[in-house]
Each structure stands twice: as C-alpha cells, then as structure tokens.
C-alpha cells in the first residue's frame, strides 16, 4: 500500500498527487515510469509517468488525467488514503549527455509531467534547454513555473491562443530547426499525434528526435507484450526496450490503432461510471 500525501486538482480532470514510495523515489531516473493499481482484487494495472520525486522525503509525484475507469477512480481518492500498489521505476532511463547545441524538450498536455525530470537532468549537466509547452488552452497548462526555472528558454503554445503563442508546438519546433543554432536533440512527449508530427517536423532536418511512448500494459516488466510497437519494422516492447524510441522509426499509425483496442468496451464502462457518479451525487 502506498499512501497519498497530497492531492491537487489542476484543471477539470487533471490531478497532481504526491505518493509515498521511498524506494522508487531513490532509484528513479529521468524517463522512467511506473505501474499503479488502485484496488487489489479487481483493480487494473495502469502505466503512469513520474512528474517529480524527492528521495529525501520518500515520495514521487504523478500528474494524470481522469479519462479511464482507473484514473477516474484514482481521482476520487483523497490525501491520507492509499493505493494498493505502485511498481517501479520501470523502463530504460533517458540518455542524458552533454550536447554541443541546445536540447529542445517538447511537452504536450500532461506530457509535460514526464518531461519535467528530463528537463531537470539536462539542465543539471549544463545543457542549454529550450522547452516548448503546448496545451489546448491556458487552464490546461501544467508545471509552468517549474519548467521556467529549469529551462534556458520557454515557449508556450495554446491551440486557442488564450496564453502564449496561438500555435501548434510543431511551429516553434520548425523555427528552431531552421535557426542558426539548431537543436542537438529533440525530445517530444505528449499525445501520440503530437509526437508523430514533431518527428515529421524534425525529419527533414535530420535532428535526432526521441519520443516517449505510453501504450497499453498489464505487467510493465516484459511479460505480456501488450505494449509492443513497431520500431523501424522491428517489434519492441515499450516496457523493457523503451519507453523512449527514435521518433523517426516509430510506426505511430499502428501504435494509435493499438491504443484504441478497448475503445468500445471502455466507452461502455465510462458511461457506467458517469451514471454511478450521478447516483452518488444525488444521494449526497
């Protein structure tokens, strides 16, 4: 059991939680993720990213969007309550090396959360970090202050122009690729479609671009293969070979298709969930 130490609601369905997990806090490196399970007997195991960790205090932080059955259930938990299990840190850490040019970190939506430790690690070894953050609107932007503190330059884009530039993240990314000091490396984390277009944006400039994939998983340790993706025509497991891959080699179309595997079943479940919440609200 892992205790929830703190919970904040960042927007309508985005939450930030501090969870007690001393061993993970100590071991985790930028780029790694975890598996969380709310309920032991009938609960689901879902992969989540690590937004932050404190080895001294023994906690990790997660930022998640309540979209599926389990994330909705998690969003109803309060500080002081516990979740059944947190397993991690999983996956291969990000390769953090000193670069000659700037490292451009592109985070979209809650993809900014797993980007935070990566930006932190690059900043720490003295790389020049340019962060591009994107969201649908101002209210959905997360971790702005933290990212500002760690980035040499911060570019904010919103789809509706309610804050920062009214652009997709690929627009400033393209500008940087065309500038006098093009990126030595690009890392993009966000919705699959965003990562796909970031990779397409950098491809003509031959800028090495890593993406971090968040696929369907059960165990997170290589045993089930549910997370498999096609990388340069070869099947790889996100949980043990990833989660980061060369964005120019990822078959995003196949991955997006696979992410929809349970769409029909989950839509049905979500409706049930909404009904249950309504009933609960009425009772109160």
């Amino acid at each position: 059991m892992n205790k929830i130490l703190e919970k904040k609601q960042l927007s309508a369905d985005v939450f930030r939680m501090k969870i007690e997990a001393p061993l993970i806090a100590e071991e985790r490196k930028a780029g790694q993720f975890l598996i969380l399970q709310v309920d032991k007997e009938l609960g689901e195991r879902i992969p989540l990213t690590i937004a932050n960790a404190d080895a001294q205090e023994g906690f990790i932080e997660i930022i998640f969007q309540a979209v599926g059955a389990t994330t909705r259930q998690l969003s109803r938990k309060e500080a002081g309550e516990s979740v059944e299990a947190v397993l991690g840190p999983l996956g291969q850490p990000t390769v953090i090396e000193k670069k000659d040019g700037p490292v451009v970190c592109v985070g979209g939506g809650i993809g900014v959360a797993p980007m935070h430790p990566i930006v932190e690690a690059h900043h720490k070894i003295g790389n020049r970090v340019i962060t591009i953050m994107g969201a649908r609107n101002k209210d959905l932007l997360i971790m702005e202050d933290e990212m500002k503190a760690l980035s040499d330059e911060l570019i904010i884009c919103t789809d509706d122009g309610s804050y920062g530039r009214k652009d997709l993240v690929t627009v400033p990314l393209k500008e940087l690729c065309e500038s006098d000091t093009p990126p030595a490396e690009v890392i993009a984390i966000g919705p699959p479609i965003m990562m796909k277009f970031c990779a397409e944006t950098t491809r003509p400039y031959k800028v090495h671009t890593m993406v971090s994939l968040n696929t369907i998983m059960v165990d997170g340790t290589g045993m089930c293969g549910g997370c498999r993706v096609s990388i340069g025509g070869e099947t790889k497991f996100v949980c043990v070979d990833g989660p980061e891959f060369d964005g120019h080699l990822v078959d995003f179309d196949n991955m997006m298709m696979r992410l929809k595997s349970y769409k029909n079943q989950e839509a049905h479940r979500c409706n049930l969930d909404i009904e249950a919440e309504k009933l609960e609200a009425e009772r109160k």
Partner: protein, 493 residues
C-alpha cells in the same frame, strides 16, 4: 461427448469394485487387470460456462482401487522419473491402506507443493512414464494414476488437518533474498526458512504465486490452493515483498551490499512472449498467451466487475500445441467465444501439451487444425483482426529431434475468419536482470548460466526455474529451488 462419465457414476463403479477387491487376495496379474480410475470432472457442457475447476478429484474408494493397481516394485522405477524423488510406492501403499495422514507425510518429505503438482505435473512424462504397470500395458497414460492420488492426499490434508506452523529452528541471523514467488521461489523459501534463514521473497506482481496465479487458469488450478501454500509460508515467517521488481526497484547488488542479504536466489521465471514474425502480428486482436491469460487469471477479466478489460471475440485462433495453448483456448471458450481453433504445425502425437489437456479441450469443443500453420494475419480498415491465412503441412523425414518434420504443401493456403489470435509459442528470456546486473553470465539463449548446484557466475547468487532452464515445468522449477536452497545452506555455513 459420448465417453464422458459423470462423477456419481464413477463413484458408484469404484465403490462396487472396491467391495469385491477388498475381499480378494490380489496377485500382480489381478492388479494389472484393475481398470484405471478416471478423474471425475465437471460436465463439459456446463464447465464451458464457468471458471471452476474441471477435475473434481478422486473419492476415497477410487484412491483405494487405484492404489491396488500399484505393483509395489522393489526397484521403484517411478521414483527415478520424479524430479524431486518422492517415495511413490510408499505413499501409495499408505493411501491404499486408508492411512492418508502418513501418506501425505511421505510426499511432503520431498515435495513442498503436492496440491499444485498433483494437478499440473506432466506425470505421464515423469513418474508414470517409468511405471512398470504402464510398461506392461504399453501406455504411460495407463500407469498407476500417481498424480491423482497425490492430489487427493493434498486436498485431504487441507480439509482434515488444522493448519499449524511447523516448529522452526531459531534464526541463524542470515538473510536470503528470493527473486520471484513462483513454484521455484516458494520451494527454496520453505527449505531455507526451515534451515533457520531469514527469507524475503520479492514479487513484481501484486499477488504471489508467479505462473500459478497469472498463467495457469482457475479451472485447472484454483487460486485458493496457491494462496493456501503462500499463507503456509507466511506462517513459517517468510516475508513477501509484492510490487517489487528486483533490478529496477532495487538492484541485485544493492540487496546484497546495502540491505544485508547474504545470498540471492533468482527464480524470476519465463520472460518475453515470442511472436511468430508474420505479417499482421501487431494488429488489434493479437495477444500473446501471457497477456490473454494474465488478463483473465490474475486480473480477473472474467469477472464483469474487474477493471481490466479483455478483448471480445466470437472466433479465436490459438497458435501452438503446448499446455499454454490449451489453457488459452479453453479460457477463450469460457470468455464466450463461439468458435475456438488450435492451429498446430505438426500432428496431435507431437503436441507437447498433456494428453489430458488436449482431451479436455476437445470435450469443450475446441477445434484442432493440425498440420496447419498461420502465414499471415489479415486486418480490417480499423486495424482489427478479421481472419488468418494458413498453410497446410504434411509430415516429411524425421529431423534431428527424431520428430518427422512438417513440410508445407504448396498452394494449400486457406483462411479462417477470426477476431482474436493468440500466439502461444513460448518465451524468450526477460532482459531485466541482465540489463541491471553487471557480472552475471548468461547463455546465448539469454538464460542465466548456472552450475550443477544452481550457482551463477556471481558469489552467493543462485538461479533456477525458467530463468536458467528456459521453459520448463512446475516440478522442474521446484527441483531447482530445492537444489539451490541446499547449495545456499552449504554456501553460507
């Protein structure tokens, strides 16, 4: 199926037969004429719709009759067939005399998990293969049904003996870490704890048991049996750390250097599921048997209240002919599939699955497509599986393993419409321990290199079960656990 006999009928036949036998002076000749007792099982038409155990177990009379078949051979060839050398004739003698307590005690001298082994061991390839009676009758399937008697005794014990913690020697102050809570880890833990060590088992999943909880389905091995074994170990003072992935949550080296473990036994099990590298393998609706079984067993997707979904399909094709393939096919039947196919490249004779499992699968309506191999998986416009294309094979010349090699028949392509495909063709090694444990030597197949005492290339580090053998069986994994425990006891003297 016509040859299905209801448990009540088997019970009646056995008790009538026993009434005659118990009055008779048995000779070796008359013993061999006693018919083998069938395992009573749930009606196939009913069990297709439930997850409950298929085999319901012998009655006491069936045990008496079956035990009377044992010739009590002086040289006891059956013991050599058992990877943990259970004194089989002795426990059968006790069981036949109605002394069930002493009988189970004989088994427990050598085996930690009789309720599990009685159910899942491939006896016909081990003890029963060596049985003199089976040799006389020219069929190991007709040998004394050793596993069925073993299972009866283990179940008898759990119902009739209060669960007490055995007397243990005081702690010797030395700590052993066990990686993985499957059959191998549990066996090693018991032996080490009995020898006075402080034992902690690290398990990546949220429940202990390894393959017995994620892989083997409820209808073949009820989870309550595994839980009982785990609880027994807890009462002995073994600590379980679930949701702990050695290599990631803590490096093996840190367990020894920082956390004070004097030795480690790695029994982390089978690794990554193999795929066939055919077109369409990443379509939606293609699941490794590991994934399909883990969703239904461990994550309980068969329960409509469980949060873990399982892909809905009316028609399912399982690739492979082993026990895991049978488990996946029979699980698919229970998850509501109307048409379930086994696709296997060779003939039924070469199938690695147990005869009993193949028989059960057939009774449950699974369709066997033998001498057939999938060539590619076809998808629809949403990337979902709609059919498989297969090729017919015929048997050619024997290969180096002595099995006749299947050769494709040119132009024999045909398709089967399905919505789900489940490759069940084995596993390759999990790279996790390798990625995180420098200095540990691996074979070219990715398994951990060990000597005859399960010792690895690192001091005080041992390994066994599937991570060193490749895909093996529960009992072989247990055998490794036992050997490793003995070697650790010696090593830490």
């Amino acid at each position: 199926m016509s040859n299905y006999k209801a448990p009540e009928i088997l019970e009646k036949e056995a008790s009538e037969l026993w009434d005659t036998l118990k009055e008779t002076e048995l000779t070796p000749k008359s013993r061999r004429d006693i018919p083998q007792q069938d395992m009573p099982s749930q009606d196939p038409d009913i069990r297709r719709g439930n997850m409950e155990e298929v085999a319901v177990g012998y009655t006491a009379e069936q045990v008496f009759v079956e035990s009377a078949r044992c010739l009590q051979c002086k040289n006891a060839p059956c013991i050599n067939g058992c990877p943990v050398s259970i004194d089989i004739p002795r426990f059968i003698k006790e069981a036949g005399d109605g002394k069930f307590g002493p009988a189970i005690d004989v088994i427990k001298e050598s085996s930690m998990l009789p309720a599990i082994c009685g159910r899942v061991c491939p006896q016909e390839k081990q003890c029963m293969e060596q049985c003199t009676l089976g040799k006389i009758l020219k069929d190991p399937e007709k040998s004394v049904a050793i596993g069925r008697i073993e299972r009866f005794l283990a179940d008898w014990e759990s119902e009739n003996r209060p669960e007490t913690a055995p007397e243990l020697p005081p702690s010797n102050g030395k700590k052993v870490a066990i990686v993985g809570s499957g059959p191998s880890g549990l066996t090693a833990a018991a032996d080490l704890r009995k020898a006075g060590f402080e034992v902690t088992i690290f398990e990546a999943f949220h429940k202990p048991g390894g393959v017995t909880v994620y892989g083997i389905p409820e209808f073949r091995l009820p989870k309550a049996i595994v839980e009982r074994e785990v609880e027994g170990l807890m009462r002995m003072g073994v600590t379980f750390e679930n949701n702990f992935l050695v290599g990631r949550t803590r490096k093996l080296k840190d367990l020894m250097e920082k956390d004070g473990y004097n030795a480690v036994y790695i029994a982390s099990g089978a690794g990554l599921p193999k795929f066939m590298h055919i077109e369409g393998e990443n379509l939606v609706g293609v699941f490794s048997a590991n994934e399909f079984l883990t969703r239904s067993n461990l994550m309980k997707a068969y329960d409509s209240n469980a949060a873990t979904p399982i892909y809905q399909a009316k028609r399912v094709a399982v690739f492979g002919g082993g026990n895991v393939a049978m488990d996946a096919a029979r699980t698919a039947v229970r998850m509501g599939a109307e048409e379930v196919h086994i696709i296997y490249r060779r003939t039924e004779k070469e199938m690695p699955a147990r005869v009993e499992e193949v028989h059960h699968a057939k009774e449950e309506g699974v369709i066997f497509n033998l001498l057939t191999s999938p060539v590619r998986i076809l998808g629809d416009e949403d990337g979902r599986v709609r059919a498989i294309e297969c090729l017919k094979y015929e048997l050619g010349e024997p290969d180096e393993s002595g099995r006749r090699k299947p050769v494709p028949i040119e132009g024999s392509e045909f398709t089967i419409d399905v919505e789900t495909c489940i490759p069940a063709i084995g596993n390759t090694s999990n790279p996790l321990i390798k990625q995180t444990t420098p200095g540990l030597e691996f074979t070219r197949w990715g398994t951990i290199e060990v000597d005859e005492n399960q010792k690895t290339s690192l001091d005080h580090v041992f390994a066994g079960g599937d991570i060193s053998q490749g895909a093996a069986t529960v009992i072989l994994a247990m055998g490794d656990g036992r050997k490793a425990a003995a070697a650790i006891i010696e090593d830490l003297k």
